[in-house]
């Protein structure tokens, strides 16, 4: 599990530590120069003070007892009289040699590097020496002191970060508990106004998803309500017909009633099939990938499927004009589309009528046309017939009211333009579907 809190601590604390170390290293180099300068000045001052303060070099006991070599600066002070006799040394045991130069020099003595200052007047010579490592120790100490506040800062900061992140994440926890209380029926948007900038996009994206879910659910519920409502009608008919069969008093009456009962059952089955088709075509349903298909071959297949039905009604149903046309699409749903159009045409064309299917192509579209010389649809009704469960007034054909809704849905899925026009002989209906070549290809490329 990734924890923002832990990750932030894991990154910020080492960063702080490294910064502290770098700062103290920088301080070390910075301070070194300063300490050198200061120490040199210090040594010179001591030398000069000694030269002034000791007019009588024969009284060396006034000098401090040489026990201060333990002090931090580790200064070694030595005095010589004008004869060159060592009269004082803070290193009693093994005094340093006297270096002839005046002023500052750097010399090796006893495996150590020493900074040495020498000054004299006519009675005295003073030599102040300091091991360089003493200076380095002071510098190091100063640098290390820089680390102390950082060492204190790290746990404090860790605590502050821990608390701050906890507080910063509390809107997220509120969001979580808010979402936890939700179910499929409470899909109203989450409150986003009070959320921090960082969490807001998440909540907005969630709201968008909730909105789409709500839409899909509403759509589904509406569909189920519509379907249940539509199923009542054929089921009522079947129920009544069955009871009439029961009550029939003669075998002739019984046979007639049985015939209508079978029609009623066929109608219910048809409606259920159309409902299932419609449900599968819902935008939310899983879509099959498009394949390249031969529209002409498909049209011939569907025409062959419906030939018996057309023949029974003595309708001349066939392919009037066609050219090879390949489009991108889903074979099964296009078969349903064409089947519904031909089925509709057969239902609404009187016996002895004619139904033509034709396929044309131009540079932009593949046009699929189904036209008949049946009763047609008045212009003012042509947009409404695509509505789900819309059945035309006076239409006593036992349709489901879903056929053209299904056609429309499949056409939309294929980006096809659908138009209704007057059919043959100025009556009838002509349904034209324009499949855009570029878009179907494009869809394939996706």
């Amino acid at each position: 599990m990734i924890s923002i809190r832990r990750r932030l601590l894991l990154w910020s604390l080492p960063a702080l530590l490294v910064t502290g170390l770098l700062a103290s290293i920088a301080t070390y180099f910075d301070a070194q120069e300063e300490i050198d300068e200061l120490s040199d000045q210090h040594m010179r001052q001591i030398a000069l003070i000694l030269l002034q303060q000791i007019p009588r070099p024969d009284i060396p006991h006034t000098l401090p007892t040489p026990d201060d070599t333990e002090e931090e600066s580790q200064l070694v002070t030595q005095l010589w009289d004008k004869n060159g006799t060592l009269i004082y040394s803070s290193l009693r045991a093994s005094p340093m040699p006297r270096y002839p130069a005046q002023g500052f020099i750097t010399e090796n003595w006893h495996d150590q590097v020493w900074r040495i200052y020498t000054a004299r007047n006519n009675t005295l010579a003073v030599q102040i020496a300091q091991p360089m490592h003493a200076r380095q120790e002071i510098t190091a100490e100063i640098s290390l002191r820089m680390l102390t506040p950082i060492a204190v800062l790290i746990p404090t900061l860790a605590l502050v970060i821990w608390i701050a992140i906890g507080q910063g994440l509390s809107p997220l926890r509120r969001l979580t508990s808010e979402l936890g209380r939700r179910n499929a029926l409470s899909l109203q948007p989450l409150p986003v106004e009070t959320l921090p900038l960082e969490i807001k996009p998440l909540a907005v994206a969630l709201n968008d998803l909730l909105h789409r879910l709500d839409d899909a659910l509403t759509h589904q519920r509406q569909f189920i309500a519509d379907a249940a409502h539509e199923l009542r009608t054929p089921l009522t008919a079947v129920n009544l017909q069955a009871q009439i069969v029961e009550r029939a008093q003669s075998s002739a009456e019984s046979a007639a009633a049985m015939h209508t009962l079978k029609l009623g059952i066929a109608r219910s089955i048809h409606l259920v099939q159309q409902l299932l088709t419609m449900a599968r075509l819902e935008p939310e349903a899983v879509q099959r990938p498009f394949v390249e298909l031969d529209l002409e071959a498909l049209a011939k297949q569907v025409l062959a499927d419906y030939a018996p039905l057309a023949h029974a009604k003595n309708i001349d149903c066939g392919l009037a004009h066609s050219e090879p046309a390949s489009i991108m699409g889903d074979t099964d749903s296009l078969r349903i589309l064409l089947g519904n159009l031909i089925d509709n045409a057969i239902h609404h064309t009187p016996a002895g009528g004619r139904i033509d299917v034709s396929i044309h192509t131009d540079h932009q579209q593949v046009l699929l046309e189904v036209q008949d010389n049946g009763c047609g649809i008045p212009a003012e009704e042509r947009t409404r017939v695509f509505d789900r469960f819309y059945r035309r007034i006076g239409n006593n054909a036992p349709g489901s009211g879903l056929g053209l809704a299904i056609v429309k849905r499949i056409a939309e899925h294929h980006y096809a333009e659908i138009t209704l026009n007057e059919g043959m002989d100025h009556t009838g209906l002509k349904v034209t579907l324009g499949f855009p070549i570029s878009i179907t290809q494009h869809h394939h490329d996706d």
Binding site: H229, T236, A237, N239, L240, I244, R247, T260, I393, G394
Partner: protein, 220 residues
């Protein structure tokens, strides 16, 4: 009893008419709201079965208009709308009963009878007039203790007359109540049926007011 079925679905309409005719009712069937309005203006029906989702004019509008004209015709709504709100609005608009599709033919017929009985102001379905009784459910007619066998039309005629004993109904009124639109009525059909009834029940049961019409003698 002549009933009006207002139903736009072909199959349901056919079955309803068939079932009701089997029960001895005379049935007219209209498919849409406009035709229903015209049919209801005739005022010859004992009851209307009303579907709500009708072309041209909704069933509820039709019902409201009927009640605004002070028409008390019993109306039984038959519809697929099953929500409580729909039922309440149907009954509030003036329906006498509400039946949700899919319904049972037996239940529909029972409710039709109940409405007709209630409309006639009777507590039981059995029609009794002196020693003559008629049961609309079993189609049994008993006169002076004897079971009388009647044809469907004779039964319907007697039933109509026994709804209001003593009231005189003209031949035209009787024809309207007994025959639907598509039925051929012989000019003397009512007289012929009356003649047969008198033969089976005795001449004093059905009285004749000359030039006006027929009635059941209350004193049978």
């Amino acid at each position: 009893m002549r009933l009006l079925v207002i139903e736009d679905d072909q199959m349901i309409g056919e079955s309803l008419c068939h079932g009701l005719r089997q029960e001895g009712f005379t049935v007219d069937w209209v498919h849409d709201g406009k035709a229903a309005g015209l049919a209801l203006a005739n005022d010859v029906y004992a009851l209307a079965l009303l579907d709500l989702g009708l072309p041209h004019k909704s069933g509820l509008d039709l019902l409201k208009e009927l009640r605004q004209r002070d028409n008390t015709l019993p109306v039984l709504i038959i519809t697929a709308r099953d929500s409580v709100a729909d039922r309440v609005s149907g009954l509030n608009s003036g329906a006498d009963d509400y039946l949700v599709k899919p319904f049972d033919l037996h239940e529909l017929i029972a409710r039709v009878r109940a409405l007709l009985r209630r409309n006639a102001g009777r507590a039981q379905s059995l029609l009794v007039c002196g020693t003559l009784s008629l049961d609309p459910i079993t189609h049994e007619v008993i006169h002076q203790g004897n079971n009388i066998t009647l044809s469907a039309r004779e039964f319907a005629l007697l039933h109509t007359l026994m709804e209001k004993p003593g009231a005189v109904l003209s031949r035209a009124q009787l024809e309207e109540k007994l025959y639907g639109w598509n039925e051929e009525v012989e000019s003397n059909a009512v007289e012929v049926h009356i003649h047969h009834l008198r033969k089976k029940l005795g001449t004093d049961v059905i009285g004749n007011v000359r030039g006006v019409g027929y009635m059941i003698n209350k004193t049978v």
